[in-house]
């Protein structure tokens, strides 16, 4: 990487799996994830950094994968929406989106889930205001956001109950 080149060999860990690929420097990270690795859960809405559909968590930080080049991710650890469910079981956050009608067409959902996952990692018990700020970078053209905020708050509520020892259904995200 210390010599300028239009192609680079990169190593990226996505959802726990290590990938080695030769990439073009001009390839956007979102295309690397979707087209090269065929992980199509991550969506492209605007391609200008405005909609958040391409959000992934890179080295613990929420980012828009259309705003990075693939070689910038060399050495990175990335979480995408495919990594949320474990052993065929949806994550509590995903269950909550289903239970509270947090999605309609589903286009924004992978990005919403990643933003909500990041928010809850940073702050397991956000207020409604904090949830709204947490998903500010994610546009949804269907739901009007109300049920998305409800879905996230339900998990926050379950976290609060767990952390304070009171019983509640559900659990951590």
């Amino acid at each position: 990487m210390t010599e300028p080149s239009t192609t680079h060999a990169i190593e990226v860990t996505i959802n726990g799996k290590i990938y080695h690929r030769e990439v073009e420097a001009r390839q956007l990270l979102v295309h690397f994830i979707r087209d090269t690795l065929d992980l199509t859960g991550t969506h492209i809405g605007c391609d200008t950094g405005s909609c958040g559909a391409c959000s992934v968590i890179l080295n613990g930080k929420l980012v828009k994968s259309c705003m990075l080049l693939a070689p910038q991710a060399d050495g990175a650890v990335i979480d995408t929406v495919e990594g949320l469910a474990a052993d065929g079981e949806l994550a509590p956050l995903q269950e909550s989106f289903a239970a509270h009608h947090g999605l309609q067409c589903g286009y924004c959902t992978p990005g919403m889930l990643m933003s909500a996952t990041y928010l809850l990692r940073e702050n397991p018990t956000p207020t409604a205001e904090e949830v709204r700020r947490g998903i500010k970078g994610n546009l949804c053209r269907c739901t009007g956001y109300v049920n998305i905020v409800r879905s996230i708050l339900a998990v926050a509520e379950a976290n609060r109950a767990r952390l304070t020892g009171t019983s509640a259904e559900g659990g951590q995200q």
Binding site: M1, P4, R26, V63, M67, L69, P71, G137
Partner: protein
């Protein structure tokens, strides 16, 4: 989107980055990429070599000095500014302003250096850094220089940087004794593009002794409004005198008109945000 073919390089040090910038005519630094990616997508600038400076440790430090000043590396992100105890200790307003830039994804990547070097008149940090009287530390393969922040922003997407130069850090002095800062912004929506905004630093010692009042989006670059500053100095720190001083903002400005506001609207709102920023700086308002 497919970009034009481009070379990418991740140098191991600032010296290496400077060498790469000097030896490649079409080279540009890549910091957070939160503007440059879109510039490349739209092919509005031609870049042949992207020199990725974003992970250089030398550009990622925040140092707080005994005199209360801070030196912030160019590649410190907005999120890191917000979380930094060193920044919050004496410059809480920088953390606050950084925490309201657009959204969490952009705050996790965008850098103080990129925010300044782009010289986009809607960017949040330049007016604040002018109000706080920052100094820009600049290096090239041939040497280094310091540029007072007021001489850094030259025009729309234009700064004092010469080809081959890097902004390496931003030095922000401690607030003088008795001085506070304020920041107020009229945005298109919460935490989004500004229609007009103001930042201020005001020193009070019974009366107002010193005032720096900066307006953004009323000219190609953020400007100090000398009329309002002069009207404030010597006045009592009261809402009435701040209002009177803000009324000096007027026909001297020719703000751009666009879909978010006419020139006249911006002029009127400039008075409002300047008043709010100064009220916050004298401890009489919420700002923002």
């Amino acid at each position: 989107m497919l970009l034009k073919s481009v070379e990418y390089v991740r140098p191991g040090s600032v010296d290496e980055a400077l060498h790469l910038l000097r030896s490649n005519a079409g080279a540009a630094p890549l910091a957070g990429g939160q503007s440059l990616s879109n510039i490349l997508k739209h092919r509005v600038a031609s870049v042949d070599v992207l020199v990725d400076i974003s992970s250089l440790d030398e550009l990622r430090e925040i140092q707080r000095r005994p005199d209360g000043s801070i030196e912030v590396g160019a590649c410190v992100t907005y999120d890191e500014l917000d979380r930094s105890l060193g920044v919050r200790a004496g410059h809480e307003i920088i953390a606050r302003v950084a925490s309201h830039i657009e959204d969490s994804q952009i705050r996790n990547r965008g850098t103080i250096g990129g925010n300044c070097c782009l010289s986009d008149p809607t960017n949040n940090l330049p007016p604040l850094l002018i109000a706080l009287d920052a100094t820009m530390h600049v290096r090239s393969a041939g040497g280094s220089r310091r540029v007072p922040v007021e001489e850094f922003f030259k025009g729309y997407f234009l700064t004092a940087l010469e080809p081959g130069e890097l902004l390496t850090s931003v030095e922000i002095p401690a607030l003088p004794a008795g001085a506070r800062a304020g920041y107020a912004s009229l945005n298109v929506a919460a935490d989004s593009k500004a229609i007009v905004r103001s930042a201020a630093r005001v020193k009070v010692n019974e009366v107002i002794e010193e005032a720096r009042v900066v307006l953004a989006r009323v000219a190609p670059v953020p400007i100090r409004h000398r009329g309002m500053e002069e009207a404030l100095v010597g006045a009592a720190p009261t809402a009435e005198s701040v209002r009177a001083a803000a009324d000096t903002i007027g026909e001297d400005l020719e703000p751009v008109a666009d879909s978010h506001g006419s020139s006249e609207y911006r002029r009127q709102m400039a008075r409002v945000v300047a008043r709010r920023a100064v009220l916050e700086a004298i401890g009489q308002g919420g700002g923002m």
